[in-house]
């Protein structure tokens, strides 16, 4: 027992919170990377997450390609589609007010979701976890479904890997420098337009990866992205726009906060993230990890 709550129930909700937090972290990471570089709030992020889950689902339906290849193919497909969208459409909006980028990606999200709704309705499609990750492990104090453990671990690896790639590699240095002063980096001879395309591809691919990871946890549905993305935007605001590390840490923390609220005051669990967002905006308008707070 902990605070009058059975330990099992407490840990169970904490795990649910950690799972949700894993998806928040991956999605807000992609949003932060895109925003930092392109100065565009990618409203299509939820749709790209859903698209990633559907790529996995359709690969299985049409080509009988299973989970493990899909884990590579789904982010790849979503990333490449993202790069085509950036090159052919989004890049034309950079010289305009950032609001145009926001409106464009919002419209794009509606189109993508509309297409999948038209084809597959709004009811979810099941997508089974791979055999290797079915079942669960008894940790002694609680029962952990293997697939959920896998989600938490892979999300941590992806977030840490992305962060390291941005902080420690040459390409990451170009990315950070171009986030600060794109014109000067281009005047040094770096092809910044290509860098922007790659960044949008990377951000989209992260959303697609989160989508295929989520497919066995939640059902594959055209609305799965729009359900999640509002919370993820709140995460980005709390973490501080454009802060990579802030986005990741805040993602996990808010997922856990949501889980804990479900234990102690379930009625508030759907709004706790937004209450935290409101408080953070009052106290630190630039977000917990944002600059100029």
């Amino acid at each position: 027992m902990i605070f009058g709550i059975p330990l099992q129930a407490f840990l169970g909700q904490l795990l649910v919170g950690l799972i949700n937090g894993s998806f928040y972290a991956m999605l807000s990471l992609g949003l932060a990377v895109i925003f930092g570089m392109l100065k565009i709030i990618n409203f299509a992020h939820g749709a790209q997450y859903m698209f990633g889950a559907f790529v996995g689902f359709l690969l299985l339906q049409w080509l009988n390609i299973g989970y493990w290849p899909a884990l590579v193919l789904a982010p790849l497909v979503v990333g490449v589609v993202g790069m085509v969208v950036e090159r052919t459409m989004l890049s034309r909006l950079y010289s305009l007010d950032p609001l145009y980028g926001l409106l464009f990606t919002f419209g794009l999200a509606l189109v993508i979701e509309g297409v999948f709704r038209y084809c597959y309705g709004v009811s979810g499609q099941p997508y089974a976890a791979p055999d290797a990750l079915s079942g669960g492990t008894n940790l002694g104090f609680m029962f952990l479904p293997n697939y959920r453990g896998w989600v938490v671990v892979s999300s941590l690896v992806v977030c840490l890997g992305t962060w390291l790639a941005i902080e420690k590699t040459k390409l990451g240095a170009y990315l950070r420098a171009a986030t600060e002063n794109p014109k000067l980096v281009q005047a040094f001879g770096v092809n910044v337009p290509v860098l922007l395309t790659l960044t949008y591809g990377l951000g989209s691919a992260l959303a697609g990866l989160a989508g295929i990871l989520a497919a066995p946890v939640y059902q594959v549905s055209p609305l799965m992205g729009s359900d999640l993305i509002i919370v993820v935007f709140a995460v980005v605001v709390v973490g501080g726009m454009g802060s990579i590390l802030g986005a990741v840490i805040t993602g996990y923390v808010l997922g856990l906060a949501e889980g804990l609220t479900k234990v102690f005051y379930p009625e508030a669990s759907n709004i706790v993230v937004f209450v935290i967002m409101a408080i953070v905006l009052l106290v630190r308008p630039a977000g917990l990890f944002g600059k100029d707070a």
């Binding site: 040459k170 600060e180 000067l184 980096v185 005047a187 040094f188 910044v192």
Partner: protein, 234 residues
């Protein structure tokens, strides 16, 4: 005389609706150090930014080594062999000194090695792992210059490298520029401080209201002092 490395003919440039350059003609020959003098706001920085292509609203012709710069994408200008050291220095705060130094891609063979750069700028070596913007103003200026020397560019565009720096640092920058000149680097220097510039420059251009109004070699500097005093207000 040989062909100029950099040649501007009738260069006009605009900031939004503001017409900043009114037909600038300017030549820099290979191995030469040329200084562009003028008061604040006459268009010196604009000239450098228009050469680099950081200002796209421009007319006239600009050639570098015979190649047309006017229709070149921004990231091809450095690859053609032009290195830019901006007035605000442009050191990246999210990058370490090392990362700042290694950021600009090498565009041609013949650039300095890191060892040579650290011999020229020993301070940078001891502060390699510091955040770029944690350096003093003088060190940031040295870093801004040093990172272009690695790349093998044929010509440097330097925008007021001595601005706001202590005399001992200005002295050091003068020595570095003399060393670069001795190595055959072509330099276009924007300066207000002609006492500093006269130690390294071969020729001067005087700029007023977006136009070149005088051009003379360093030997004529003394007989032009009255004019310079009037135009520069010193």
């Amino acid at each position: 005389m040989s062909e100029p490395l950099l040649a501007l003919r009738g260069l006009n440039a605009w900031y939004g609706e503001g017409h900043a350059l009114h037909g600038v003609d300017l030549d820099v020959f290979p191995g030469e150090t040329v200084t562009l003098l003028g008061r604040n706001g006459v268009g010196k920085t604009t000239t450098l930014r228009a050469i680099m292509g950081l200002i796209r609203k421009r007319t006239g012709t600009t050639t570098f080594g015979g190649r047309d710069l006017m229709h070149m994408p921004l990231h091809h200008v450095a690859r053609a062999g032009l290195g830019f050291v901006p007035e605000e220095r442009g050191i990246f705060s999210t990058l370490s000194v090392d990362e700042n130094l290694n950021l600009p891609p090498v565009v041609a063979p013949g650039g300095m090695s890191l060892d040579e750069i650290f011999t020229l700028f020993p301070n940078l070596k001891t502060r390699r792992n510091s955040q770029g913007t944690k350096l003093s103003g003088g060190e940031q200026q040295m870093l801004a210059m040093a990172r272009m020397l690695r790349t093998g560019v044929k010509m440097l565009l330097l925008d007021e490298p001595t601005e706001g720096l202590a005399p001992v640092i200005v002295q050091r920058i003068g020595e570095v520029l003399a060393e670069l000149k001795a190595r055959g680097m072509t330099i276009l220097l924007v300066e207000q401080n002609f006492r500093f510039a006269r130690r390294i420059a071969d020729r001067f251009y005087l700029m007023e209201h977006g136009k070149i109004t005088a051009s003379f070699p360093v030997g004529e500097l003394d007989q032009r002092m009255a004019l310079l005093g009037e135009v520069l207000g010193v």
